[in-house]
Symmetry: D2
Subunit: 342 residues, 4 copies
Amino acid sequence: MRVGILTSGGDCPGLNAVIRAAVLTGMVHHGLEFVGIRDGYRGLVEGDVRVLNRSSVRGTSRIGGTILGTSRTNPYEGPNGGAANVAKTLERLGIDAVMAIGGEGTLAAANRLADDGLPVVGVPKTIDNDLDATDYTFGFDTAVQIATEAGDRLRTTGDSHMRCMVLEVMGRHVGWIALHTGIATGAHVTLIPEQPRSIEWICEYVQSVYDRRRAPLVVVSEGFKLEGMDEEYSRKGLDAYNRPRLGGIGEVLAPMIEERTGIESRSTVLGHIQRGGAPSGADRVLATRFGLAAIDAITAKAWGTMVSLRGTEIVRVPMSDALGDLKRVPDHRYREAELLFG
Amino acid sequence: MRVGILTSGGDCPGLNAVIRAAVLTGMVHHGLEFVGIRDGYRGLVEGDVRVLNRSSVRGTSRIGGTILGTSRTNPYEGPNGGAANVAKTLERLGIDAVMAIGGEGTLAAANRLADDGLPVVGVPKTIDNDLDATDYTFGFDTAVQIATEAGDRLRTTGDSHMRCMVLEVMGRHVGWIALHTGIATGAHVTLIPEQPRSIEWICEYVQSVYDRRRAPLVVVSEGFKLEGMDEEYSRKGLDAYNRPRLGGIGEVLAPMIEERTGIESRSTVLGHIQRGGAPSGADRVLATRFGLAAIDAITAKAWGTMVSLRGTEIVRVPMSDALGDLKRVPDHRYREAELLFG
Amino acid sequence: MRVGILTSGGDCPGLNAVIRAAVLTGMVHHGLEFVGIRDGYRGLVEGDVRVLNRSSVRGTSRIGGTILGTSRTNPYEGPNGGAANVAKTLERLGIDAVMAIGGEGTLAAANRLADDGLPVVGVPKTIDNDLDATDYTFGFDTAVQIATEAGDRLRTTGDSHMRCMVLEVMGRHVGWIALHTGIATGAHVTLIPEQPRSIEWICEYVQSVYDRRRAPLVVVSEGFKLEGMDEEYSRKGLDAYNRPRLGGIGEVLAPMIEERTGIESRSTVLGHIQRGGAPSGADRVLATRFGLAAIDAITAKAWGTMVSLRGTEIVRVPMSDALGDLKRVPDHRYREAELLFG
Amino acid sequence: MRVGILTSGGDCPGLNAVIRAAVLTGMVHHGLEFVGIRDGYRGLVEGDVRVLNRSSVRGTSRIGGTILGTSRTNPYEGPNGGAANVAKTLERLGIDAVMAIGGEGTLAAANRLADDGLPVVGVPKTIDNDLDATDYTFGFDTAVQIATEAGDRLRTTGDSHMRCMVLEVMGRHVGWIALHTGIATGAHVTLIPEQPRSIEWICEYVQSVYDRRRAPLVVVSEGFKLEGMDEEYSRKGLDAYNRPRLGGIGEVLAPMIEERTGIESRSTVLGHIQRGGAPSGADRVLATRFGLAAIDAITAKAWGTMVSLRGTEIVRVPMSDALGDLKRVPDHRYREAELLFG
């Protein structure tokens, strides 16, 4: 039995640990063969693969990114796309099962391929923690850790200059990274997409912290929207020439806070360093367990399912479970953080 | 209402984050007053406390250890011990509720005090992850992360010299830290107290790795026992003069492996660095949530209960839930790791 | 004898280690008393000080920022400024010597005060490594380390997506942080203020790396200027509406590279996290040695001098040595890096 | 021209950065070919080599250890040893120059080979910083950083339990790692081989710190010797049965301190984690510069020389400069540290 593995969508620390665990256990304990499908669904559609063996995956669990490359190709598009074409490609390459590792888009395509009769299982990946079908996925913990260390650093420089520091973290649609980073760094305000707030509301906290002679720290998701402002403004803000500009929300907030409170403010946009580099120990464990469980799903021919963390256990659920709404930060979790604001 | 907080037993990254969250939310949102009880139950029995306010806990969530000190005193021992004496002390100090943060011993005493009518709630703490009443507690994630980074470092020096590296991590009775560290570092063998193994079994893996021209990495819990050897020998081994010695199991294993396989072997005993220093982001989040929930338990007068993580939520359970058997590594979790041995 | 210590200008990891070493050795071995002057020269001019003792500095060598606060006030400006007024303030506060820790501006003012007869010694501080009078100062090593770790992270995500990653680091006038970060991360091009280059020159390297199927990494100082473009354009670039915008040079370069090469490009601006947080071990050692040597300078009444690193030794030099030209990256050091470009 | 590179002796973070820089610049800018000599002089004597090209060294500057392997073989020993045999081997393999990277033993052999007419240049490597011919070498900075982070961690757990923590770091003959780690962590006593002290002297500091209600931190080199005790005892100490035991000096000191002062004491022996893992940014820069300069030495046919750091510059010196006395910690540097003891 020959298994093809692909990683699709944005990269995430832990992808290689999934691949490594799957390949090692599959080869040693189930006699499977493996190929890596290059650059996600692009490689699947174009039949671009390479053999994976023990030495391909050696030492990779502690390396960020994906050794297989990734893309945002949709396997139902293009001249070679569609289930029928993919089926032919798989047959030609002798691939009997596909392990698709990715987020909602990846899993939606994987689920459709499975519905169309192809032998596909899924592994959920989302650095933003926005998939509802699993308690957590790998990558999120690493991102929070990196953002936490950055926030710790910002606090000491903020304190020295009595500045308001604004830290923008990932999270276009959901606020999980900001929520956990805000709690971990002791942020005075945390702003997430699920909870629009006005600039006045924000400045009130900032001012009260400053009045206690503390340097305010604001953690904000990239997808946070300022209440009472049209979305484009909120996203773009105004530059020094009073024209809409293209910076992130952190770069918008800092000058607005400074203008309204008179408190010197600086923003830092963490960006891609949140998704690169060595995965945390916890993420390597979770990714490894997902890889092992995905091999079980393959040997059980449980097409259309994906692996999932529930409490402390790895279970198997329909891929469709991951395809409804995003997992947003619920109100009670935001209120937890809010208890410590100011 | 005045709340006394104590930390008891071995220290653990995250203790200060519990204290900080409890004090901040209790003061700001519930009008509570706080005192810190010094050195665990010693301070409770002796009435040794100090006022805790906002500035006492400022910036402490990212600092390891406990700002309150800790000890292993049993509140039922000594001339001032026992529930009746403690009740008098609490009355004298005007303390209306006690938050006891600690492991099994601490919680057992806290539960007994609650049974004896005292207003006590618990917060579970175990760096070893050996408490059954909660999915995880704070400190464990940090310990795994530190051990994982150490293991990563050992691998490169092992590879350079083609040595077998033995990494001894904490875990006197349970193997959780070793299990997760072994998976995260890609250890070739992981040895835990729950699964005694013979030296021959271990050496077989070590040799097979070496034969593939890889430097073997062995991760071992301090409480692992070699099968087929009396316990004292297993614990103490023999020194160069053929007498029992007092080193950890890692220091015992390395020369045994070297003697049997001829492969140069070195051991590293991580020791106390696993429990000190800044908590990981994840541990700060969990500890903060525990602190908030413990204040809820106090305002609800839910004496005799403790906070607990179940899946992604914090719940309240009877403290007695934590007092039965230790949470050992179940067989299926060890088998997961075993799939990747060799 | 009573010593006042001030920190002035941008903060820098290691400031507290200087203060701690000075206070501890001064108190214990020379019977000195200490006050901390708040917020740099602002506190000096306004007479805003607080007593420093052993407990004020306890545990601070590993904490970033400055416990004294900082500002960019010039002691020769304002109604209470000028040497005569400062002399009166010092007399009123009983301060017999001032230790001024800061960069070129700070040391220029300190030197002028010393020339005007005040008892001032200097400690050089520059995170950018732009002071000529010392081999290195504290803070620089930490900044390079943080930027190196960020660059390592960017590489794995760049490799996964085959993107060109642009990392902007500090260095408004000199390229030392970029030079060392570029070497340490194995950047394919490093761009510094001392060496203007054209966008075509940059893209040639980027393209050649991409053609070898590697993801290009570009490290750039914030003060780098694109050759053949007017400075404002170079600094501001054009936004999506073809108007000058205010992003850093990294945010300017990435879209220019993408436009010219067709290679997807992303920028990360590290910003303030480079100057916050725990100092590296090396910076703590250097800062501590500076603090000890500054006390020697004070007890020797060597007013107008500053401490300096020469090779492995700390020496004393005239403060005026630090006030000429900035220490720029010499050509031969840039050529070193250039040997590894592409 | 074909260059063989070997790494010999204990491994050290930065070795791969030397190799990478040499190979890249040598291939691209000088048209050189490269082979890696396996396992130090063993590979030289046995003619065990492999081709090194761009892809062999890709991404290795941030990886610890040595991709070439290492050993402690002496090239003048064994049936194929000696200059004449080695010369034949080099000729047979078409190797025109050898770059030997290592410590005193390695450089002594390299120098002898050069004296015997072989085309050899050296690159100094010593994690202990004990080579006199260079200000610093790579690896030392990383080791100090790792030990500093460990010391930071030990402080918080020490403070929580009011224990004396003893941290043993590397340094069999010289105390540089301990000296810098002690300064960086704010140790209350630092003990180095160059400065024997009595247990009473040590305990006096420990007691005075404890009396101020601080948890004492002792940093000790593995090669420190207790004054007034015969060396074997000092090295081995007594175990719980009053017999000489084999633990490191840290494991000897902790119980002696506890016995004499009554203060609970714990030791941590850092061991091999100090020499493994990713090099610090500073070490990668230094190693890279050494690699570049070594290629210059080779193209200049400067046989018998080695590269060296002097201040901020890389220079070329006779290898014999490294072969006299070890570079010990001078008295004035130890006195610096001593000023902050207690």
